[in-house]
Structures are given as C-alpha cells and as structure tokens.
Symmetry: C2
Subunit: 577 residues, 2 copies
C-alpha cells in the first residue's frame, strides 16, 4: 500500500543563528521519529533563517551553512528529511536538501526567485533551471519545490507531477504575513492539488524578523484539493498526517484532463531521474488523528501578527522589557495592550509625560490604561524642560511667532526621556504612531517617532479602532477605556489642537492612502473613485514630501499589501511631487 | 567620407521631474544643433531621472514618461537623438529611443539589468532579449546600448560590432560614483574599443540623488582605445567630438582578430536589421577643438563627490540653508567646510552647544572654524537643559550610577536644538558623524545622528584627516585649524573622555572595518591579515549589533565600494553576531 506519514515542522528559525537553527531542526527530527513519520519537512532556508539578506554575501556564512547541513544529515537515521539551505557551485542557490537515512540524496534549487515587494532574491541567488529529481519512498513518488515555485500554474509542480509522475509535492516556504494572505495561499494550493492530482505538503516558517512576520499555517492537502491537516498560526507547531497515496494513483488512472496534459509536448521526461529512498519507519501499526486548526478572523489575525512581531523583535534582540509613552490617546493605549499581549504585563512600562497642553482627561486615561493592563506606570512632567528650551532658544528665535517648532520640541523632549529610560534600564522603546500619521508626516522625527520598534507602523487609524474594540471584546471588559476610543484625536502639542485641523477625517484619509500607497493610483484615478480633488492632491503631496521622515523611522510589522520600509522604496529627492 | 559629429549631453536629471528633464533634454538638443552635431546623446533614463525606484510601479508615471518622449521626438528636427526612457509592452523596459528627424526609429532595451550593490533593476524591468537594431547615418553604422550592457565582454556590444558591423557604439549610462570608479570605467571602455574595433561614445549622468552621486566624466574613445574627448566631472557638460569613422573601416579590413571572431558561430546576423537615418546637419564646414578634461586626484574626487552630494540633496529638496553643530572637533569642521564648498558661506550656519564637559580649546576651535569659513555662528549652551533633565529623571533613576545614558541625553539635547533651528528657520540639519563611528555605533541615535543628510556617512576617519588636509591645501591656509586636526578625538560627553578609551586607534579600526564591511571577510580571515583577534572580534560585534542605529540614520553620499544604506542590507535581528 502506498502510504506515508509526514511531519511538517513549522519552526521559528532565527536569522543568522545557524547552530541554533540546527538544534531546532534536530529536535523536529526527533518529534517526527517519535511519531513514526517517514518524512519530516522544514521551512525554506531553515538553516540560515529567512531572509538572511546580505549575510548571504559572506562566503564564511555559506560554508557554515553547508557544514550545518552535513551535521543534520548525520543525524537523520531511518528518516527522510527535507531541509532548506543555501547550496553553492560558484553561484549560490536557494535550495532544499533531500536527506534519506543520513545521506543527502538530492538537492532541489528554487526556480522562481521573488524580487518584488519585500523580496530581493535575485540580489543573491541564481535560479535553478530544472524541476529536479523525483524520489520514491514506500512506493510513493514525490518531488520538492520551494515557496514561490508553487505559485505558478505552469511552474515546477506541474512538471514534477506530469513529467516525473510525482503523487506528493513537498513545498517548503518562508511566506510572510499580510492581511488575508492565508486565504490566497489556500486557494492557490487547492488549485495546484486539483489541477495536477497531487497531494501537497506545505510547510511555512513562523516567527517575526524585523519588518516581517511569518505566520505559519502549514497545511496538507489531498488530491481533491481538500485540506486534511492544518497547523496553528503565529506559533511553532508540528503537523503530522497520514497520506493515502493509493487513492491518487486510482484517481489519476481515469482522469481525462490528465491524459490530455500528459500528451502536451511542454514536459520533457528526460529532465527527471527518480531516486529510490530507504523507508524504515514502519508507522503502520499506530494511528494518529489529524488536526485542522480553524483560521482566525480578519482583525484577530492582525492582532496575532502584531503580537508575534513585537515578541520576536524584542526577544530575538535580547530585550526583556519595553517602555511606552502613554499619552492617554488610543494609539499608545493600543500599543501598550499589544505589548502586554506579546510579552506580559510585567515586561511593559508605561510613561506619561504631561505638558501644559495635556488635558485632565487624557492624563487620567493614561493612568487608567496602565492600571487596566496591570503595567508599571511612571509620570515625568515635561513643562520645566519645555520652558528651559524656550529660554535657551529665546535669543535666537527672538520675535518669531510660535509654530510647529515648539510642538516638535515637546515631542522630542519626550523622545529623549524615553530613550534615557531605555539606556538606563536596558528596555526597548516601542513607538506608537500609526500608518495614517506616518503616511502624511503627522509625527515628529526623533520625537514620537523615537523608538526601536514601531508597532502600528503599518496599521491605519481605522484599523486601530477595530483592534481596540477587538482587545476589549477579547478581554471581556474595557481594557482600553471607551473615553479613549471615543475622544476626538489630538496630538496635544498646542492649545485645543485636533488632528482634524490638519487632516481629513480618518476614514476619508485612509481611503485615499489605500488607493495611493497600496494600489499606486494617480491623483486623477483616485478622484475618479469619488474623492475630493483638492483633498486628494493635498494628501498625496503630504505622503511624498514626508518620505525623509519614514526613511528614519523604526521598523514595524508589515500587515498590509504594501508597508513602508523595504516593501515601498521611494526616492526622498522626488520631483514627481 | 564616413564622418560624424556627436554631442554627449551630460545633464543633471531630477528623479520624478519628467517635464523638468524634458526641458533639459530640449536645451541639450539646441546646443547640439548650434554646434552642427549629427547625433546628440543623453544619460540612461534621462526622462525619469535615475534611479526612479518605486515611482516605476505607478502606471501613470510610465505613461507620462512616454508622452514626454513624444514631445522630445517632435522637437528633434534635423538631428539624431538618443534618449533614455521607460518603454512598455505589458512589462516595462529600461530603454533608449533612437530618434531621427522627429521620428522614433527604434527602441533598444537594456539586456543586463544590475541587481546588486545599490541597484534593484530586476525589481522593475524585464530584460531585453536582443542586441537590437543598427542604424546607418552618413554612411556610418552605429548601435546603442545601456550602462551595464557595456561591462560584459561578450555582451551586446560585441554582437552589435560583429553581427551588425557597428563602427560606433553609443552607450548611455547612469553610473554612480565610488572612489576609483573612473579608472575602472576607462579601462573597461578601452578594452571594448580595442577588442571590437569600435569608437565609443559614453554619456554618463551627473548629479546627486539621495545616497548616490553620479559623477559624469562622459567620454569618447576611438577604435584604438584612446580617449579623444572627456567631459568634466561633477557638473553638467556638453562634450562635442568629430569622429572619423573612415579609419575604423580601414583598420578592420585587415584585422586578424576580427576575422577570427567573425567566423565564430555565436553571432546570429539575422538578429539585426539596419535602419537608414536622415543626415541633415552638414557640419563639415566648421571645425571644433576637442577637450580632454584631466582627472582629479584620489582625495579631490571624494571632495567633489561630497560637495555635489550636499549641493543636490539640499537644493533638489528645496532648502536654501543648512545648520551644523560645531563641536570644535575635526568631523564637524570638515562637514562645515564641505557645506561651504557646496553651497557658499552665506548658506551655512554653525551652532556650538557647549556643555560642562566642553574644553576651552574645543569651544575656541569651533569659533575659529566658523570665522575661517565666514559662516554665521551661534552659541547655545546646554548646561541648564542637561541639569533640568537630570532633575526630571532623578526620582526614576534614583541611585543608579551615571553611564552612557547621561552622555546620550546631552547629545539628544543638541539634536533637539538643531532640529528646532531647522524647523524655525527652514534650514536642513547636516549631521557630522563619520563612517568609522557609525560602523561601531559610536554615536547617539536622535543625538549627533539627527539630521536630514549625513555628510560623512561613508567617509572613514582616516579619510576625514586627508580631506581636512586637502581643504587647507586648496585654500592655501588653515581653514580647519591644525589644533583641530591634531587633537586626540573625543566626544566630550563625560570628563576627560577620549575615543581611544572605547575604540582601537582609527588606523587599526578602519583597517578592520574595510575588511569586514567592504570585503565581507570573516573574523578568522581578518585575523589572518595580521590584526589582533580579540580586537577584530570586538569590532565585528560592535558593527553587527549597531545595525539598528544605522537603519534610522539619515542618507549620505556613497564614496566607498560598500556604503551603508541600500548598498548593504543587513538584518537588524541577526544572530550571526
């Protein structure tokens, strides 16, 4: 009987930490062995972590990664392991090793290298030029491909299925999160499985890495396109499934589509060689029940992505605590709630830094948020400092009227205080600005933008409100006070200031920003969608002229189709404005 | 007689400013026409500016650029113009239009797309798959290629010369500066000319664009590999030359190498079509003398690159003045001198912000530098502000001993003051840290790193000294006082502080940094070059753990083989440390 048991190891690899990753991989092999799996799989570039960026330009890094692969091979007795690593032969390749019973039996080289959005794989890798080898294990023919490869209908998967007769396709991925990406992946995998009559094992990376969160959600589909097992998202998980490949062969035998496609001349069977593997696991006596984890809702998945992003940025960079400036507004309250969700209340310090323009309500809301979340709360008033700056600058400023300068001085005093706390106590500053503000430059460089990680960098204000509601619902009480959610947004840097003095209402603003940033539409095209022309022109101009601020912003988690950072590479000096 | 007059228009294009660039191109055509040139050439992507980065993802930007090309074509009566633009047919291509007497006669698509170092051309462009058309003008066969194309010995140039019989190759480039790049370009062009017996017209972009300076130095080589005309560097220039192509044909007739290569089967002549162009200029009656501008010395070209980088970043972003914190040390003195070289003394403001740790000598040196350079000089002491911070933080810090926190507070007070001056008077802050400091994190985020442009970002401390000497020599007097150059480097943020308390001597440090950053060597390899192991390990670790600071640094001009910024893309979260 053509049966296999597979274990997808959805691990959290650390970029650069080759030997730490080897340890995780070896533990995964142990789990697979304990469960009598025939095959154990790991994410794309599991040995180096993903994306390793310019570490790949260091020859010593590549040779360490190959040593590490050999160590893994030596520890793969009686099992077949699929491990992502960097292979080389003059050039370097994004590769998967197919290891069987301590021997590296084959290496597959990724053929489709993504070089758009946040990806730069052409910068480093040469693309593979063949769909590669096929393997026979316990009577089952399988083939391997890597991440982007599987997104193309006429890509290597089709060739492996038709040319080599692969019944099982193992794809190893490091596919980053953005909202609704999971649904896209599922639909694509279903199409591949049904079109090619293959079972698919899809193993994704999990974990935060700078601007990216890899959301896991590894899965296994049968040849009908049904998901028969699905791992958790946003945490490490081991997904074990029994695959009855006999059924694939039976269905294929009479498939008219398959007959038609087999006759197409695009597939060159001589491109393939099938290598026999040793199968020793003998799992047939035991039984396992297969898990299908339920997917999250739209806001819940964003919440989870942000928490994992915070947790891993803080933890992987060696910090134990974070410090957040609490203004009494919704952005900082949300940031604190997310930090508590990610790290626990004991790891979060809230600091309120009231000025002469802070209202009694916001001061009290800051304190209530801290109390509700159970975090440490510090008050450091900035009025005397502000006065001292005004007096130091009095002679130079002379009779110039107050303007945005004085607002920025206050924001930068707060930035300096937060950084001083960071320096003295070794905690990371989380900055609190949202994507709407950062888009139009409604924020102070070195002021409220100061910090090691910018939690809401890719979260529009309209989503900020939804996340606040979600958190309160989840908690079953008002963690973030309704007064904070309902208050008209204000920076409180000058008397009676309101965001709406300067910006369109946030629902309008976010609508324009989405069209301009995510969809790259022109002013005319956005106006065509029903927005006011003058407003669109003003917003677009604000976005363009504030690129210099964003270039100096802290990293934050990508959650939209197009985040600031390496996902959107705009010139600062830009006369298209 | 096969003769042509060519005019290479080395213009300073502005990224995004399509219609401004069109104006410059039309003026260049006028200059060429006034000088009876047959052909006029412009840099790569002259219409969009280079690099346009993600502006290329906006369909409206592409269609504007095509409208602009048509406008240029309509204004090209009686001349042949080679114009860099973005062509499209479903995908987009980095292209050159060959315009003759108001008609677009052909479009060449760049075949070699650079995607390393600062380049991301695979992100946007599809590569051309044919060396393209050849053209016949006044009996001369010529062909066109673009920048990177000409760097490959077996690239399109060889095919154009052998397959289409091109006697003149026109390459349009946007090749950015780094030290000694000019020599590399010359050597490469000489090899292409002699190997293929072609004359070469090489037109390069000039101007600063964010991290890059394009240094011009356009040139024309004959078929013997001799430079017969060379333009200025670091400024706009029009280079006009008479080409006697008759000589090329004569030399080719009896060339044994050529005969050998013509027989090679790698060239498919059917790939080429030769298009006849109309020649109307009739320049034969006049005579011109051809210019060969002398190249600069090693330090002079760096000086010129930095000045152009400052001038264009400041000017193209709409600023008239800059403000610089003058500490009395060499870095800020050099930055001020460069700013004066770029913008003139009236556009530069020096600010000294002495603290309790500032010595009498540095205070006086700051003033002397300002006086020598003839710039406005402001003094704003920070002692009271520093005291106020200490008092505001006293309760939170309690009995914690003073450490780097107190040093950073002072640096950030200065950052806040400089930014306040920037906000109030609309001038750009130039930050003054050098590459050695930035490499090892010997700098304060939001403190001395605050600013819109980081002049010495890619200038090692050892080069800082050479630049200071060069400036004094050039001025014929001590613009930068010898006491400033000779003083042992100190940040003056705590009592009797010296850089050498924390860092190896700068010549050792820069040696290690060069091996690690530019050459990507491992610790073992660097130690193998004769450096102390513990010192190398310490320096490498400092470089790695300070990536987060550099990620939030202002842009600065690339002058080395590998600059920080988009030239070196390291993960922040990096366990290779």
């Amino acid at each position: 009987m053509k049966k296999l048991r597979i274990c997808n190891c959805q691990i959290n690899c650390h970029v650069g930490d080759i030997y730490g990753n080897v340890e995780k991989i070896l533990s995964g092999i142990d789990v697979a062995r304990e469960n009598s799996a025939d095959i154990v799989t790991f994410p794309e570039l599991a040995i180096s972590g993903y994306p390793p960026e310019d570490l790949l330009l260091k020859p010593s890094f590549i040779s360490e990664n190959i040593k590490a692969l050999n160590k893994i091979a030596n520890n793969s007795k009686d099992i077949t392991a699929i491990v992502g690593f960097v292979s080389q032969d003059g050039c370097i390749y994004n590769s998967a090793a197919i290891i069987n019973n301590c021997e590296i039996k084959g290496v597959y080289r990724k053929m489709f290298l993504p070089n758009y959005s946040v990806f730069d794989e052409n910068r480093y890798f040469t693309k593979g030029d063949k769909p590669g080898l096929a393997f026979k294990l316990n009577g089952v023919t399988f083939a391997v491909n890597i991440c982007e490869d599987i997104w193309y209908a006429s890509g290597p998967l089709m060739k492996q299925a038709l040319g080599a007769g692969a019944e099982l396709i193992i794809n190893i991925s490091s596919s980053p999160f953005c909202a609704e990406k999971m649904k896209e992946r599922e639909n694509m995998l279903k199409a591949r499985a049904t079109d090619n009559l293959v079972m698919i094992s899809y193993t994704n990376l999990v974990g935060g890495q700078d601007e990216l969160v890899f959301d896991g959600g590894s899965m296994i589909l049968d040849h009908n396109g049904d998901i028969i097992a699905r791992a958790k998202r946003f945490e490490e998980d081991f997904l074990i499934a029994d695959l009855d490949i006999e059924k694939v062969a039976r269905k294929r035998l009479y498939s008219p589509q398959r007959k038609f496609e087999k006759d197409t001349p695009t597939i060159d069977k001589s491109d393939f060689e099938t290598i026999d593997l040793i199968c020793k696991s003998g799992h047939k006596s035991k039984k396992i029940s297969m898990r299908i984890e339920e997917p999250e809702g739209e806001i819940e998945e964003i919440y989870n992505a942000l928490c994992l992003g915070i947790k891993d940025y803080v933890g992987k960079n060696g910090f134990k605590k974070v410090v957040i400036g609490l203004s009494g507004g919704i952005d900082s309250a949300l940031t604190a709630a997310l930090a508590v969700g990610a790290l626990g209340a004991d790891s979060v310090i809230g600091v309120t830094m009231p000025s002469r323009y802070s209202s009694q309500e916001t001061k009290s809301d800051a304190e209530i948020v801290a109390k509700n979340l159970g975090i440490k709360f510090i008050t450091i008033p900035i009025n005397n400092l502000f006065k001292e700056y005004l007096s130091s600058l009095q002679e130079v400023f002379r009779d110039k009227p107050a303007d945005v300068t004085e607002e920025n001085i206050q924001a930068r005093i707060r930035g300096n205080i937060l950084m001083a706390l960071s320096n003295k106590f070794g905690c990371l500053v989380l900055s609190t600005g949202n994507k709407s503000e950062l888009s139009v430059g409604y924020c102070t460089l070195y002021g409220d933008m100061a910090g090691g990680f910018s939690v809401l960098k890719d979260v529009y204000k309209t989503i900020v409100y939804k996340l606040a509601d979600f958190i309160n619902e989840k908690a079953g009480n008002e963690l973030i006070p309704k007064s904070t959610i309902k208050r008209e947004p204000t920076a409180e840097l000058s008397p009676n200031q309101k965001d709406s003095d300067t910006l369109p209402p946030y629902d309008v603003l976010d609508g324009i920003l989405n069209q301009y940033i995510e969809l790259d539409l022109s002013v005319e095209e956005i106006v065509g969608k029903g927005f006011d022309k003058e407003q669109v022109k003003r917003v677009v101009k604000m976005v363009d002229i504030n690129e210099y601020k964003r270039r100096q912003a802290a990293p934050g988690v990508k959650i939209t189709q197009k985040a600031f950072g390496k996902d959107r590479r705009m010139p600062i000096t830009n006369h298209a404005v």
